[in-house]
Structures are given as C-alpha cells and as structure tokens.
Symmetry: C2
Subunit: 448 residues, 2 copies
C-alpha cells in the first residue's frame, strides 16, 4: 500500500437525513405480526403500552420508504457519525486475496458499537412523549450501554436487565452502564414474574436475551410512565440502523467501488439490516446483484437451521407473535462469548427476505470466529467484538474463495463493534479454552 486512501469519511452535512424503510419497497411484504392476546393482526396502538408511539408506528409502516430523522437526533449523531469506511489493506495482505475488502467501522462510536444509532432515537421519542423511565435488556452489554447513555442525554432514568452470563463474563460493561447512571440487574432476576418462573424451574439458569426481554417488558408494563426499548429484532430498530448502510453507500462511491457482497453478523438483525438494506434497495429497484450474507453462530442457528413460523420475541411470551425464522422462544443458547448473538429469532423483515432468497445466511462456529478476529486484530489493529468476529469469518471465507478463483470481488462488512470489553473471551481463546458447540437436529427440534 502506498499513497492509497485507507479511510473514507463524510462531512457532517452528509450524515443521513432520513432512515430507509425497506418494508415500503419489498415486493413480498413481511407477514403481519399478531396481537398475542387476540391473535389479530397487530395495530400500532397494540404496542403503545410497551413502546413509544412514534416507534410503534415505524414498526408497522409499509408505506413510507424514507422516514425523516428528527433534527435533535441528527445533532446527537454528530457526536460520532459519520463512522469511517475503511479499506482493509492489512487483512487483504494477510490473506493474500485479490478481493477488495472494506469495513464500516461502527466500533468508533463512544459506546464501542452501532447500538447508539437506535438508542438515541428511541430515548428521544420517549422523552418527546413525556416518558420518564426506560428499560431494556442487554446481552453483551453493547445495547445496554448505549441505551444508558442515550437515556442520560435526554434526562431519562434507565433500568437494564443484563443476561447473567454476560453480566459475569463482562463486568466492565456493567460499570459502563453505571457510569452513565443506569441501574443494572442480572437476568433472570427475582424482581419479575418472568424471572422468577425461570429461576424456580431452572435454579442455575445463565439467562438469555429472550428472558431478559420478558423481564424488561414486565417492568415497563407494571411501572407508570416507563417504556421498553429494544436493541435489535424489531423493524424500527433496523430502520434506525440504516444510517450505517446509507453512509457506506456514499463512502463506497468515494472509493469508486460498489460491493459484490455485503456481510454482517446476525443476532436479531439490526446491524445486518442497517448496512444491507440501503444496498438491497438497489437490488430490488434497479436489479443490482449484490449478495447479502448474514453470519450467525453455529450454536444459535435460527437462519440456517431454524423454522419459519409465528413465535414470540421473548421467553415468557409477552411480545406480539412475529412471523420469523426461530429456534423457539424457549431455546436456551450455549454460553458462547458473542453474547449479542445468543437470540432465538430473526426480525420479520429479514425472515421474509431470507424466505424469498433475497439474502443468504451462513453459520460460524466459535473457534472459527475467534481465529478470524485475532487475524483481523493483528492485521488492522482493531480488536473486534466477538459478535463482529462472525462477520469477519464470513468475509475471510469469501476472500479465500476469491484467492482461489483470482476474482477481484468487492466485499463490504460491518465491524459492528470492538472487543475491548470482551478481552476475557480472547484470554480464553488464546489459552485454548474455547470450544465449539454443536447442535443435533434433536436439539433444534426441541423448542419448535
């Protein structure tokens, strides 16, 4: 590399002014979520007891492809956006691939991940609607940290249920949330019915995102002036994340390239949809042929081995029933270190897109993900989040295919976050103490 541009950044006035709602452009719309009590198609009003009104409407909006970003939210985005698009010359060289690899570096957000992109608008709408308290779940803690900070920005109180295994594996994330002034409770807890039910049935339960969601929703439902917020899965969260892909679009243009492949790790789908949908728009409207690849953990393979069916988004069954690829809402994922990917289902948009063949999914086992993460760290300097390692591993696979065929394909992946709070996981990897978790077909069927 010599005199080649490595990073691409946008001036502040080019930070997106609209979020992109792919639902409006989809030929086959997602199937309708159902009200869990009436089993009727869900209406925005059904969500009011849990969510802010604004996002309740965004969730089900099939009409408007572009939804304006409130000026105050856009001002907050300026704290860290645009994030850099980076040409991964170091990784290309390490792999000896002719592929051109780019990554969108969401790890430079002060929270260390893409999660703030949705935490800010969710907190903003709550504040606008007179809400005083917000609550949420978090796995690895990236979302919880972001929501805690966003709440602080708008003067809201935040209460976070953190999946117990992450609470214990990643104590620094708890400290980060507390530094922003949030209350953090390990989940399952004895403070909610949902938590008690799990803990009395399974006394040593290590927690799951599904259970933590139930606990947070229960708190929101039983507390006046308190709303629930969510870090992924739901369509409005992915909507907010489309700032990633829109920026990347402009930045790829600055680099004079267009991606043949867009790759992201997959937990609930928000960083994946965030980077993919603005590019997928060109596939839908203009017939472009970009491939979109979601990289999920082999131990939690809803996209590659799950079933498309109506299911709850949480363990206790408080949420609407969503038409999605799922492992069953009672699925208890293995204690992998990519806490943000330990989730049983996929959002309704992604589920429909996968069903219709508009995107692909691959599963990555834990050791392959860390192999790729350490390779990336040594080549590019950034220690990736264990979640993001899955996207890197999928990128490495494709880049090595290019090496074989000699094709100069353009690969764009989302570096959804850094792994500085996850060093205990890297420690275990370096010590040879990490294992892969294999699921039998029986394991997969058990909760479906």
């Amino acid at each position: 590399m010599s005199n080649k541009q490595k990073r691409y950044l946008l001036p502040e006035d080019e930070i997106p002014r609209y979020w992109y709602n792919i639902q409006a452009d989809m030929v086959n719309k997602p199937m309708q979520p159902l009200n869990p009590e009436t089993k009727e198609p869900l209406k925005p009003e059904d969500l009011y007891p849990i969510l802010s009104k604004a996002v309740s409407h965004q969730e089900l909006d099939m009409e408007n492809a572009w939804i304006e970003i409130p000026e105050e939210v856009r001002e907050m985005y300026k704290y860290y956006r645009s994030t850099p698009l980076v040409r991964a010359y170091g990784l290309e060289k390490a792999l000896g691939t002719p592929a051109h690899i780019y990554f969108k570096n969401e790890s430079v957000s002060p929270m260390g991940s893409h999660k703030l992109n949705s935490a800010i608008p969710q907190a903003y709408y709550c504040k606008q609607e007179g809400v005083t308290n917000v609550t949420t779940e978090t796995g690895a803690g990236q979302w919880g940290a972001s929501l805690s900070y966003a709440a602080r920005l708008f003067g809201l109180e935040a209460a976070v249920y953190q999946v117990k295994v992450s609470y214990e594996q990643k104590p620094y994330r708890r400290s980060i949330m507390q530094t922003y002034g949030a209350q953090v409770t390990p989940s399952p807890s004895m403070s909610t019915r949902a938590g008690k039910d799990v803990l009395t049935a399974h006394p040593n339960h290590q927690g799951s995102l599904g259970t933590a969601i139930s606990e947070a929703i229960e708190l929101a439902k039983t507390t006046p002036n308190c709303k629930y917020t969510l870090g992924s899965v739901l369509s409005h969260v992915t909507l907010h994340q489309t700032v990633i892909g829109q920026e990347a679009e402009k930045q790829m243009e600055m680099a004079g390239e267009y991606p043949d492949m867009v790759i992201a790790c997959f937990g609930g789908g928000s960083n994946f949809g965030g980077i993919a949908f603005p590019f997928m728009r060109h596939n839908i409207l203009e017939g472009k042929k970009t491939r979109f690849i979601a990289a999920e953990p082999a131990s939690c393979p809803k996209l590659t081995r799950g079933k498309f069916q109506y299911d709850y988004a949480d363990e206790a069954g408080y949420t609407p029933m969503l038409p999605m690829y799922t492992l069953g809402h009672k699925f208890a994922p293995a204690n992998i270190h990519a806490g943000g990917l330990r989730y049983h289902g996929a959002g309704v948009i992604v589920s429909q897109l996968l069903k219709d063949g508009l995107m692909e999914a691959v599963d990555i086992n834990q050791l392959e993900s860390f192999d790729a993460g350490v390779l990336f760290a040594q080549a590019e300097g950034i220690i990736p989040a264990p979640e993001s390692c899955h996207a890197i591993a999928a990128t490495v696979r494709e880049a090595l295919k290019c090496k074989e065929t000699g094709e100069e394909k353009v690969i764009l992946f989302c570096l959804s976050g850094h792994g500085l709070i996850d060093m205990a996981s890297y420690d275990k990897y370096l010590a040879g103490d990490l294992v892969n978790y294999q699921l039998s077909d029986e394991d997969i069927q058990k909760n479906l």
Copy 2:
C-alpha cells in the same frame, strides 16, 4: 446546539508530513543530558546500545525544526488519523460556561490512546536497522498495547514489562498485548537484576514505571539484536506526538478559532508536548499568548513540587542523566488508577519550558480527576482514561473561571485515551472507595 459543526476531520492528504521539533526553535535550549558513565554531554552514539540510531539522533537534534515522517509511517498513520477535533457542546452545557471547549480525541485510535503515534515510528526504525526484537515498559498498558501492535505490523517480537499494580488492576490490557502476540511480564520481575534488586529489598513492591524501564533496558542491553523503546519522557517520543497538535492547528482553523489555553495530562510529557508544541511555536515565533497547562496527579507532582536537577529516567540508573523536574528516581508513587502518570520525572524539553515560564502546571487529586471524568462521560459519551481525567479536571477549573468572569475563552484539551479498560477504577470511584493521596514536604524531599 443546532446545526453547528461538532467534529472536525482532515482528509488523509493533510495528515502531517513532518514532525515538529521544538528544540530547534527554543531560545533557551534544554540543558544537555549526560552519559551516565562518563558524565560527559550525551552524544547520539551513546544511545545506540539501547535505542535505534534514527531516534538516537532525533533525541538530541537542536537544528532541524521539521523532521520528515517516513512514507511508510505515514501510511500506517492512515489507519486511524486524523483523529477528530470535537467541540464539547455537551460539557459546556453541563458546566454552564461561556468558554468554547474543544478536545482532540486521540481515544479513537484502535489502541485507545495517542501512544500509537510514536510506537509506529519507533518500530519502523528498528525494522529498518535490522533489529528483530523490541522491548519496553508500560504502566496502564496503553503504551505496551501500542508497541505490541506496532511490532506486529513490522514483524518484530515484542517483550513488555508491565508495572505490577497495573498488570493486576487492568488484566484486559495484558490480554490485548497478548492478542497482538507480545510477551508480557509483571514488573518488578525476577528476570532482571534491576527487578531482583527491588524485589529483594521490598518483597511486595507494586512496581513503578521507573523500575519497569530499568528492566526493559537491561533486557535490551543483554539481548542481541534487541532494542528498547519508550512511551514518553524522551524528546523523540514527544516529537512523534506532534502530529496531534499539528492536526489540531488545522482543525481549530476549520472551526474558526484559536486556543487561549491548551491543556493536557502529564506523565512523562508526550501527549502534552504533542498537542502543545505546534501551538507553542506560534508563541515563540510570533508572540502569541496561548497558555499551556500540564495537569499532573497531586500524588506524583514533579512539575508543581519537584526539583529541577540531573536525574536518571529509570529506577536502577541505566539511562542518561537528564536535566529535569523530578521527585527522584527512587520515588515510589502511590497506587493511583492513572497508571500512565505514575512517573517521577518530566522530559528535558518540558522541564526547560516550565523553568522559563513558557508553560504552567497544576496538580489534580484523584477524586477531582474522576469527578471530572464522570461528568465528561455523561456529557460527551466517551469514558475517559484515568490519565485524561486530569486534563478534563484542569479544563473544568478553567471553564468555571470563565463562567465567573463571563469570558468566552477557547480551551483545547487532549483526550489522550478512553477508559474502557479502566472500568475497575470507575467501579471503585462509583462505590466511594477511591481516596486522595497527599504528600508531605518530607515525602517529596526523601528521594531528592
């Protein structure tokens, strides 16, 4: 804040092409370092057994104000530079100050601090000169992580001595260094004479930068093809860090302002000199009146309470004797959480500048530093390194003075790093377990 620019970034072709060597422009040059054996003025050749030849010459260069940055180093800077200059609207609002506060955000480096700015050239020169192994000391671990990564970039083996108290307080930094492939040893260790001497005299010694430097130098001296590298104190390290101030100069111009004050935390002086010297140049050459304020910990107050005298840079007395403000090279600093500031002496340039009244120094106690850090985190989203908290505390003091007088002064400070690896320290602060360390005059005199 509305529609105001928050962050300023430079295009890659405006990343500096030269480092700024303030020694060439100083009217009173720094006094000459002495060869520790002959007590004669130090010549570059005297440093060859320890340092690369290139930096040995940079160290003592009084002639050349501008030293060209090698193209390969500049290419590596592109991995993360320019770093943003940020207008701290959030902090201004939280303080209710009319001051305009800017910070140079070095925390976005993949290593989390400014340290990579010097690690890259130091490793580069070693590689150029056929060196195969590099060694160094590290306190909090920011420098050690940067050197480990820079060594990896150039295919060198790295061995790092980490101050024991930091090794134990901040285990994640050790993991980071190991992820880049470095060997990490807590210091004092039994693997060097310097370490043994300390440990046999004081069996529970918690380590200091001074001792860790001695161990690393001893390793370099006794190992073929191995050079020592240093993270601060020496003049060439500060030289490399002037990319910070040069960028900030251009970025302040973009913002249409010029700083009345430039503030940085102070350990050995590299982030301070890095941001200050390019602006100080205008004081020296054009009579500008910017104030330069170094913020040091009250528990390690070489600038505010130390003595200007010849002293060693390390505990065992392996280094040249430097004319500097010092607490004595046998000074054992308290176990404050700002590990990077636990150092007994100040670089020769800063020492001369302070003696000549071209800059100021303030001391900040531990609680005031964390008060400021948490205030900043909640206002700006970034959790600052405990070291950087000292710069923020000094900034808060000045901003509150402006509030009293109504003056719209422009304050620029260096956010030298983030504190994500230091959350255990924040935990203690939030729990009320941190204390201030007061030094009596007797304590100060003891090692002088």
